[in-house]
Every structure is written in structure tokens, then in C-alpha cells.
Amino acid sequence: MKTQLFGIAAIVLAFAGSAFTSAKPAENNAKRVDPYYWYYNNPTTDTYELLSSTPSENPPGGVSCPAVITLPENCLKGFFVDPGATNAATNPGDENIPRQITTP
């Protein structure tokens, strides 16, 4: 019985913890996908829209970006995709070519 209570407590604690860590500001979905080009994740269309064709270190137009993705050393810049995948992404070396990520 005691273990059961502890187990239920663990599940409740886990739910609260994951809700807390998953909380994001609702008003801003700008994410740093590539160090040079900034994309906005449009939740309505589920597409990534290029904010500016001009590369920059910070998001253009005064858009705040609280959720900056930190890239670890062994990580490619941007997302890797398989050739047959439907989510396009920028690849290293293509920084000069702005791309728009779309989903079908």
C-alpha cells in the first residue's frame, strides 16, 4: 500500500514537473533554428516562415526570442533531415541561400 501511494505521488510529481518545464510563452514562437537565419514557427499552418532574408545574430524586427536553442559541439547547425523527409531544413554551407521550411 505504501509503495502504491509513493507511486501515485511520483506520477503526480512528474506531471507537475513536466508541465513546469514545458511551459512556454504563448505570445512568441520565434525559435533560433539556424545561427544566421531566423524562422517563426507558425502554429496555425505548422510551417516555419523565414523572418528575414538577411542573416543576423539576433532575431530581426525587435522580435524577442526567449527560447534560444543552444547547439552542443557535436551538433549540426540547424536540423538534420533525411533526403526523403518532408521537413526541409538548412544544411551547413547553405547559409547564403535563405530557405523557407514548409510542411505538406
Binding site: K2, T3, Q4, F6, G7, I8, A9, A10, I11, L13, A14, F15, G17, S18, A19, T21, S22, D46, A67, I69, L71, P72, N74, C75, L76, G78, F79, F80, V81, D82, A85, N87, A89
Partner: protein
């Protein structure tokens, strides 16, 4: 009476301590899998994207995106109740072994690793994530071992 029993039968005290340790391990396992499953489901789009960009398993992302958190929740739920705890522990240990082996394989043979974008555990980096998984894998094995020993004494 209890003190007499513990003094005359020290293995009873040791068995009690082992039970407490087992209960604590089970608590940690339930906590980990519940947290992992809920985190994935609450940030489902990002989880799906990460799975789709993971080496070797991206082709199975459509299935894994539901199978992994579903199995984690099932395992955590089973570990809560004494009747299904053993099976839950086996599922937990098997899944942790699979995760650990996958990360080790990816770090050893893959040309790249997917970006880790968010989450408390994910902030460790892939290598320390693997060490973390290994630790919980060993805990799961220990819990199963204790479970077997306790059942053997009862029988």
C-alpha cells in the same frame, strides 16, 4: 516484540532495509518514466521533429512517437501496483537498455547527432544522457534482483 525479532533474526532487519531500498528505486523509476512521457506529450511537435531527425530510426518516427511515451506510461502505471510491478520493472529495464544502446551506437557510429532542443535531462548532452540512462538501467536491474530475492524468502 519487534526489537526481539530484529535482534534474534537480523536477516529480518536486512530484508526490511532491502525492501525500503527497492521501494525507493521503484519510486525513482516511476518518477523518471512518468516525467519523460509527460514531457514528450506536452511538447509533442518538438518530440516528433527530434525523432524525425534522429539517425537510424527516423523512418519509424510515426510509430515511435506514440509507442515510446505510451510504453513509458504503461510501465510506470504497472510499477505502481504490486501485482504488476515485476512486469513493469522488466519493461522499464528493457526500455532503458534499448535507449542506452541506441545512444551509445549513435555516438559511436553516426556522423551526426540530432540537436537537443530543450528539457532538463536533454540539457546534459548525449554522452551524459547515456550515463544517466545507464545509471537507471542498473537501478532497474537491482530492483528486479531485490524483487526476486524478496519473493524467494516469502516462498
Amino acid at each position: 516484540m519487534k526489537d526481539y525479532i530484529l535482534k534474534e533474526f537480523p536477516e529480518g532487519k536486512a530484508a526490511g532495509q532491502k525492501t525500503s531500498i527497492s521501494e525507493f528505486i521503484v519510486f525513482l523509476c516511476i518518477l523518471l518514466f512518468s516525467y519523460a512521457a509527460f514531457s514528450k506529450l506536452m511538447d509533442f511537435a518538438n518530440f516528433r521533429l527530434q525523432l524525425g531527425s534522429s539517425p537510424y530510426i527516423s523512418n519509424f518516427a510515426a510509430v515511435l512517437v506514440w509507442l515510446i511515451p505510451g510504453t513509458e506510461i504503461l510501465s510506470a502505471g504497472m510499477m505502481v501496483f504490486s501485482r504488476s510491478r515485476k512486469a513493469g520493472l522488466y519493461i522499464f529495464t528493457t526500455l532503458m537498455a534499448a535507449f542506452t544502446i541506441y545512444i551509445a551506437f549513435m555516438l559511436s557510429f553516426s556522423e551526426h547527432t540530432p540537436c537537443i532542443c530543450g528539457g532538463i535531462i536533454s540539457s546534459l548532452g548525449w554522452f551524459y544522457h547515456m550515463i544517466f540512462n545507464l545509471g537507471f538501467l542498473l537501478l532497474g536491474i537491482e530492483a528486479i534482483r531485490n524483487y526476486r530475492i524478496n519473493n524467494h524468502h516469502l516462498n
